[in-house]
């Protein structure tokens, strides 16, 4: 899993059927101290994390296939936790 921060979201009408209806957020990966690391990636967000909130993003496709409920989904990144602001 990856520690990341929500930096925005995207709107995509034309997409794979398994992806429609899910909120797609832009995640900026962070290192342990919270500094930015690498370019942003996209993830689907079932938890409704707010902008600039720190989240835990799973990069395991099997988790996403289970949550989305479609074994043929091309999605991999999914938000599985929202970090407390204190950490």
């Amino acid at each position: 899993m990856q520690y990341a921060r929500i930096d925005g979201s995207i709107v995509a009408a034309a997409c794979h059927p398994s992806m429609s209806g899910w909120r797609t957020v832009i995640c900026q990966p962070l290192d342990a101290e919270g500094r930015e690391e690498g370019t942003p990636v996209l993830a689907i967000d079932p938890l409704g994390a707010a902008l600039h909130q720190r989240v835990i993003m799973s990069t395991d496709g099997a988790t996403t296939r289970q949550v989305v409920g479609d074994p043929h989904t091309p999605l991999r990144n999914i938000i599985v936790g929202i970090a407390d602001p204190a950490t």
């Binding site: 930096d7 995207i10 709107v11 997409c15 794979h16 942003p40 996209l42 074994p71 091309p74 999605l75």
Partner: protein
């Protein structure tokens, strides 16, 4: 999934049976500046990716593409695919903290 801009297309004379019905496009991954709206440089840094497209992305479109094992999931039988266009992006709302 990563964001990228379609910069070209590839036409195959012979192809795997599983590719029939989809197109091959060349995608250049976006850098962080381009997330914020900076223009595409003609010779961008970083290597471009050849992805399978079933949504009809043409040159200049910003797309979301997945790589690795998840890229071959949408195909019925085992497919030699490692990059797949999952969505055509209409709008990017990118607001990193100041």
């Amino acid at each position: 999934m990563r964001l990228g801009t379609v910069i070209g297309r590839i036409t195959l004379t012979q192809q795997e049976s599983v590719y029939s019905g989809s197109r091959l496009v060349v995608v250049q991954p976006l850098s962080r500046e381009q997330f914020a709206g900076a223009a595409m440089q003609p010779l961008a840094k970083g290597s471009s990716v050849i992805a399978i497209d079933q949504l009809g992305a043409n040159v200049g479109t910003i797309v979301g593409f997945t790589e690795g094992a998840e890229a071959s999931q949408p195909f019925k039988e085992d497919a030699p695919v490692d990059a797949y266009i999952a969505c055509l992006v209409d709008r990017i709302l990118y607001q990193p903290p100041r």
